[in-house]
């Protein structure tokens, strides 16, 4: 039963302050302040303004502030002066059902390992980048060249 527990901030509810939960948090109303928990879902009606450090952040509503998560999925709105740090980010041009996605205000995002410009250029110059998964990552052992003809 505890697996299904969620902390719900209902539509029409406004919460200011610090919220810490061991359950997934669902924000349908408005939260202003610091928030921590295993995951946060901001629904279409939800507004999360402040700071959040969570494992997963899924937002279809509005975000403003500083967010730190392993996985971030965004649609809806990101307001001005927002910073997002994540290992993985997903923003779709359109949803699977065809609906339009994001509106970004002025914001900054740092996602994944920092790309290495020098290595990317070196790989491009040396031809190591060919079909490499990520050109600035250490090159995999060279595969046998395809047979001629």
């Amino acid at each position: 039963m505890s697996d299904n527990k969620r902390t719900l901030i209902e539509d029409g509810t406004e919460l200011k302050g610090t919220l810490t939960s061991t359950c997934p948090i669902v924000v349908m109303g408005r939260v202003e302040g610091d928030l921590s928990g295993p995951s946060v879902e901001v629904t279409e009606t939800g507004v999360l303004s402040g700071k959040a450090k969570v494992t997963e952040l899924h937002s279809r509503g509005e975000l403003a502030g500083e967010f730190d998560a392993d996985l971030v999925q965004l649609s809806g709105k990101v307001r001005d002066k927002t910073r997002i740090r994540a290992q993985t980010l997903e923003v779709r041009l359109k949803r699977e059902d065809g609906r339009m996605e994001m509106v970004f205000g002025d914001c900054e995002m740092a996602v994944g390992d920092a790309p290495d410009k020098a290595k990317a250029i070196a790989n491009a110059m040396n031809g190591h980048g060919k079909k490499a998964k990520k050109a600035d990552e250490p090159a995999a052992p060279a595969a046998d060249p395809p047979a001629d003809g």
């Binding site: 001005d80 980010l89 041009l93 609906r99 339009m100 970004f104 491009a124 031809g127």
Partner: protein
């Protein structure tokens, strides 16, 4: 069966006694006068309440599963969170009732009066609302997937964020109703009246709008991908950011559309541009021939260059570009291939930028005015993006690596 008889229930109601949590399963209260009765959390599963007078009753959290409530008068009743799964409510009067979070899955509400009723977050999938009166009702976040709303009167009803996927809304009157961010994919809206409705960010993908009245609708940022709009009326519709049908137009009646971002009527367009807007088939895309394709192959290096590409071209870069400025015409698609690296570069113009490889800006902003920016799963992007005046559309796939600053245009 329950613990009380019909007479016992009527006596207790007359004495204003509470019947909360009462076990009334299967009871026959047809045509009973129960105005103001306190039946919160009562169990009336399978009960017969046909034509009963239940005005202003409290049935909060009550179970009315499979109950027979045809013709019952439930005006202003409190049915919040009540379980009405499979209940028969045809021709019932629910005007002004509170049905927030109620479970009406598979319920029959044909011909019911729900004018001014509150149904936020109600579960109404597959419910039958044929011919119901929903004028001014609030159905925000309600689940109406595959519900039947044929011929309903729903002027000014609020369906914001509701799920109407696959709903049958044929010939319904939804004039000035609110469908902001509603999911209406695959809905049947043939000959529906939607004049003046708010459809911002609504998803109408695959919907059938044949012969529908969409005059003066606010469809900004809505999607019509795959929708059928033949014979519909669209004059005066607000369409900024609209995702078109993707198919040629057939018999649409439209004198003008408003493309202004604010939807304030300042962006009127007439005949010539309308088909491209409604279909999403931009003339530049249609005109993109192999001759307008540019390819820079792997192993090539281009430095300190300024490149201009005409509107509608497709440019693919698998090379290393250093210290270059790339100007894109309207609708030009620039693809940085998996082996492509744009180092210390700048991209400007109303084009579409897709990064499978690497992009590093020379100075901020590295991209100015692009209509779309996509960084794919293997892509890396370091720089600032100054958005298009109408806001840039972004896609960042899982696995993309970013150090990005987004700036309003």
């Amino acid at each position: 069966m329950g613990e009380m008889t019909r007479d016992q229930v009527l006596q207790r109601v007359r004495r204003n006694e509470k019947l909360e949590r009462a076990d009334l399963r299967g009871i026959d209260l047809s045509r009973a006068a129960l105005t103001g009765a306190m039946l919160a959390r009562a169990d009336l599963e399978g009960g017969n309440l046909e034509a009963a007078v239940l005005r202003k009753v409290s049935l909060k959290n009550a179970s009315l599963r499979e109950a027979f409530l045809a013709g019952a008068d439930l005006a202003e009743a409190n049915l919040e969170n009540a379980d009405l799964d499979g209940a028969k409510l045809d021709r019932a009067n629910l005007a002004g009732a509170n049905l927030a979070r109620a479970n009406l899955e598979g319920a029959n509400l044909a011909g019911a009066n729900l004018a001014g009723a509150r149904l936020p977050l109600a579960q109404m999938s597959t419910a039958n609302l044929t011919g119901a009166d929903l004028r001014g009702a609030i159905l925000t976040n309600a689940n109406l997937e595959e519900a039947t709303l044929g011929g309903v009167k729903a002027e000014k009803a609020d369906f914001s964020n509701a799920n109407l996927r696959g709903a049958k809304m044929t010939e319904g009157d939804f004039a000035r109703a609110l469908f902001a961010s509603a999911v209406m994919a695959g809905a049947k809206l043939t000959r529906a009246r939607l004049g003046g409705a708010l459809l911002t960010k609504a998803d109408l993908a695959g919907a059938d709008l044949t012969g529908a009245d969409l005059g003066d609708v606010d469809a900004r940022h809505a999607t019509l991908a795959g929708a059928q709009i033949a014979g519909s009326k669209l004059t005066g519709a607000k369409v900024a950011g609209l995702v078109g049908t993707g198919a040629p137009l057939a018999g649409v009646m439209v004198a003008w559309l408003d493309t202004s971002v604010a939807g304030d009527g300042t962006g009127r367009i007439t005949n010539g541009e309308i088909p491209a807007l409604l279909t999403g088939l931009r003339p530049t895309e249609e005109a993109t021939a192999p001759a307008s394709r540019r390819y820079f192959g792997h192993g090539d290096v281009l430095r300190n260059a300024t490149l201009e590409f005409e509107g509608g071209a497709r440019v693919e870069i698998d090379s290393l570009f250093e210290n270059c400025v790339i100007n894109l015409g309207e609708g030009t698609e620039l693809v940085v291939g998996e082996t492509g690296v744009l180092a210390d570069c700048k991209i400007a113009g109303d084009g579409l930028v897709i990064v499978h490889g690497h992009f590093f800006e020379r100075e901020s902003p590295g991209i100015v005015g692009a209509r779309e920016v996509t960084v794919s799963a293997n892509g890396a992007f370091v720089g600032s993006i100054k958005q298009h005046a109408d806001l840039t559309r972004f896609a960042f796939e899982r696995g993309s690596r970013l150090r990005v600053k987004i700036i309003r245009g």
